[in-house]
């Protein structure tokens, strides 16, 4: 058990080092196959660990290994270890599955049409392994400090992968944007850790949020009693800061701006970022700190409001995007916001809601994380296959592909049905639980999220119809678009199958906030409503986009202002641009730069000028001219002699 768990972590890291260092010495394909093989072993081990855990220790967290790493003070020690509890075991499965699919898929995707692997193939696989390692390390972290380190490593590896095509300026901008935004958020995370650690004196999750027993959290919060800053308790600040860190990684509004641009990376990388790594890190972080959030209603409300707003905002933007990957990106933001909201609505006023179903939102959130990972990976890999076939991201280049790529089309349809929440696909079950949790919190929350669920169905089917139907595809490349090689099709089929059946996993038995099994049953009122709304969304999309017709164009013209605003993502990027360039750069940086230039630089320039002039003036003295030296020497000697003479005369 111990060996297996540690191996799950070590293996991707070894692959990263091996492929990174020795990759160039081997043929590109060999490196890829090695990467896939390494990931396959990791996946098998991860499943083993997870099954072993759920079968034998279903209610206890388990710290497998924990070594002291940094001894700050005798009391405050940062450790490195492996913690297995329900959510980390579940995450091990999710991460390794999606990562394996992406590894396999990339074998086909990262090749040109003659089947030759691209330049940098080895580097690509090496970074994929690093990415997987970072995320695995994050989910098994035993303390918040270790989590922070892996949080940063996830950011780093996403930076490397988004900028994989480093010769493209767009990729460079995108990876810088992703890195800076998430880094800024991580700064708040660090602040939160500091505040939390300052009063509790520990990093360990054990002491901060003992699994399933609120006493530990109560004690941790108790140590911060009476600490206030600007009228808000310190623990509130700490948790809000930690949430900002999570929001940066999870692309919550208004820190979502990096995610759409992150599409510049290779599509399988997008799948990995959106499904299993990176964006779910934030959700996982909040889930990990869940007991603390429960006790601090203020922080919980912040999470809920931000989550609910982001869900709606991203869905609205996704409705009008023309770039397939961008639309999927906003759908990810929306779905991640679903998870956040679900976590946040499961408690109010410092107590869990829902009576005997307490903690339903938590379970639902994790369930949705699990199902979403599967169908979002599926959707992205489908998108990759399409892009690989048509060489474009814009859906007006795609139209009518159903005839040419039937497998991809069906897989994409399954993904859409799953995300729209149509039974019996995976998304239905998880989304239903989320909505139940929302209605428990309040009718407004429930209605709001139901509406967003309807929009989800609409925009997903809009994309689906625009790509695969709308009008007959005119072939204007030299080869017809077709289903891709087996390395790319196989992951689609596997993920589609999982998306079909994942909903039937009795999730509540395994993953709950306190480890106690939660008996879930479908609330047919809520389920009926949400399915109804989803069907309305699908119907609307079918009516508008199934066949080529002028209706969408007319609608677009009728509400052109709204349409443009949504298309431009409600000017969030422009707002950032305005804030950074006009306010920060112009208002703050410019005066500082001016001061720096005039006073600080000026002072040192003057100093340097002075020295320069002085040395220029006296450099003749050291001109290397023997006769000048002799002359000066002679004058000195004469002067000495004269002085001596005068002194003698005086005496």
């Amino acid at each position: 058990m111990i060996t297996n768990t540690v191996l799950v972590l070590v293996l991707p890291f070894v692959m990263f080092l091996f492929l990174g260092l020795a990759g160039v010495k081997m043929p590109r394909k060999t490196a890829g196959v090695l990467g896939v093989a390494g990931m396959l072993v990791t996946t098998v081990l991860a499943y083993w660990v997870a099954i072993d855990y759920f079968v034998n220790h279903p209610q206890h967290e388990q710290i497998i290994a924990n070594v002291d790493w940094l001894n700050f003070t005798p009391r405050l020690v940062a450790r490195m270890g492996v913690l297995i509890d329900p959510i980390s075991a579940m995450m091990l499965v999710v991460i390794s599955t999606v990562s394996l699919m992406v590894h396999l898929y990339s074998l086909g995707y990262m090749c040109d049409h003659h089947g030759h692997a691209e330049k940098g193939f080895q580097r690509y696989y090496s970074f994929l392994a690093l990415f997987t390692f970072s995320m695995l390390g994050l989910v098994v972290a035993t303390n918040i400090f270790q989590m922070f380190i892996f949080f940063e490593m996830v950011g780093l590896s996403s930076y490397l992968l988004i900028g994989f095509y480093y010769s493209l300026p767009a990729a460079n901008h995108a990876n810088k944007k992703a890195f800076i935004v998430t880094r800024l958020a991580d700064l708040f995370f660090l602040l939160g850790i500091m505040i939390l650690t300052f009063s509790t004196g520990t990093f360990d999750f054990d002491a901060l949020v003992g699994l399933g027993n609120m006493d530990a959290s109560q004690k941790a919060v108790g140590t911060m009693d009476g600490l206030n800053f600007m009228g808000i308790p310190a623990v509130g600040w700490a948790l809000v800061f930690i949430f900002i860190g999570g929001a940066g990684k999870s692309a919550m509004y208004p820190l979502h701006i990096w995610l759409p641009d992150a599409m510049e990376g290779p599509t399988p990388v997008s799948a990995l970022i959106h499904a299993a790594t990176m964006v779910v890190a934030g959700v996982f972080l909040i889930a990990r700190m869940f007991p603390l959030y429960v006790l601090v209603p203020m922080a919980m409300n912040v999470v809920a409001v931000v989550g609910a707003f982001t869900a709606f905002y991203a869905a609205a933007v996704a409705c009008v995007q023309s770039d397939i990957k961008r639309a999927l990106a906003f759908s990810t933001i929306s779905q991640i916001a679903f998870m956040m909201t679900s976590l946040a609505v499961s408690a109010d006023g410092g107590k869990l809601l829902g009576g005997h179903e307490a903690g339903l939102g938590y379970m639902a959130s994790m369930f949705h994380l699990f199902t979403h990972a599967m169908f979002k990976a599926l959707l992205f890999l489908c998108a990759g296959a399409i892009i690989h076939a048509v060489h474009s991201n814009e859906n007006d280049q795609m139209h009518g592909l159903h005839k040419y790529m039937p497998i991809t089309s069906i897989a994409f349809l399954i993904g859409c049905l799953a995300i729209a929440g149509i039974p019996p696909f995976a998304g239905f079950f998880s989304k239903d639980e989320i909505l139940v949790a929302c209605y428990e919190r309040g009718l407004g929350w429930g209605l709001w999220m139901s509406m967003v669920a309807g929009m989800t169905a609409f925009y997903m089917f809009r994309i689906y119809y625009l790509i695969f139907f709308w009008k007959k595809h005119e072939v204007h490349t030299e080869h017809e678009p077709a289903d891709q090689p087996w390395t790319m099709t196989l992951p689609l089929i596997i993920l589609a199958t999982i998306s079909c059946v994942a909903g039937f996993v009795p999730f509540g038995k395994f993953v709950t906030y306190n480890g106690a099994p939660l008996e879930t049953h479908i609330n047919w009122t809520v389920a009926g409503t949400s399915v109804g709304i989803a069907l309305v969304g699908i119907a609307l999309a079918t009516w508008l986009y199934f066949k080529e017709n002028p209706k969408p164009e007319r609608m677009k013209n009728a509400m052109s202002g709204l349409w443009t605003a949504a298309y431009r993502r409600f000017y969030m990027d422009e707002l950032y641009q305005f804030i950074t360039h006009k306010i920060i750069f112009q208002g703050i940086c410019k005066p500082i730069a001016w001061f720096d230039r005039i006073f600080i630089d000026g002072f040192f320039n003057k100093l340097a000028d002075l020295t320069g002039n002085a040395s220029f003036a006296i450099r003749r003295v050291q001109g290397g001219n023997t006769q000048s030296y002799a002359f000066v020497y002679l004058l000195g000697a004469l002067l000495l002699a004269a002085i001596t003479g005068v002194v003698i005369v005086m005496i």
Partner: protein, 163 residues
């Protein structure tokens, strides 16, 4: 006799540093050195005078002439020997001479001493003095000088050797 010697010292010295041709400068130096030997003879220092003629006039000047011939291409004499710092040079020389002259005139009551006869130093005295180790013996400087000369020979060979 004194007048001739004094005049030739003064004139040849001045000409040695003002002439425009390097070979002439060496020649005037030779004459100035010979006049110096004359001074030594007048002092009754025959051995010193002979050394002056043999080493200076005979050896050093010949060295100069060789060096000049080695480093000057014939017909390039027109190249100015003197740089533009004449004023500086004159200033320094005059200052130096003035200071020394002032010192002589102020402190040099002994300057009016006249030359007394009978101070001839016989050769054997010089020889025994150079090679004796007593309180007025010069064996150590003599040996040191021998080593120095040997070092000079080697150094001269090493430095001037064509690589």
């Amino acid at each position: 006799m004194y007048v001739i010697i004094a005049l030739s010292i003064v004139i040849f010295s001045i000409m040695a540093v003002t002439t425009k041709k390097i070979l002439r400068a060496a020649t005037y130096l030779l004459f100035a050195l010979l006049a110096t030997a004359g001074v030594y003879f007048q002092m009754d220092y025959q051995f010193l005078g002979a050394t002056q003629i043999a080493v200076y006039a005979g050896g050093v000047v010949v060295l100069f002439v060789f060096a000049i011939l080695l480093t000057h291409k014939p017909g390039k004499d027109a190249e100015a020997l003197t740089s533009h710092k004449k004023v500086q040079g004159v200033l320094a020389a005059v200052a130096c001479v003035a200071l020394c002259g002032f010192a002589l005139l102020s402190f040099g009551r002994f300057c009016l001493k006249t030359l007394e006869g009978g101070a001839d130093v016989p050769m054997d005295t010089i020889g025994t003095t150079l090679l004796s180790t007593g309180s007025d013996g010069y064996l150590l400087p003599f040996e040191a000088l021998s080593v120095l000369l040997l070092a000079c020979i080697i150094a001269g060979v090493v430095i001037a050797r064509r690589r």
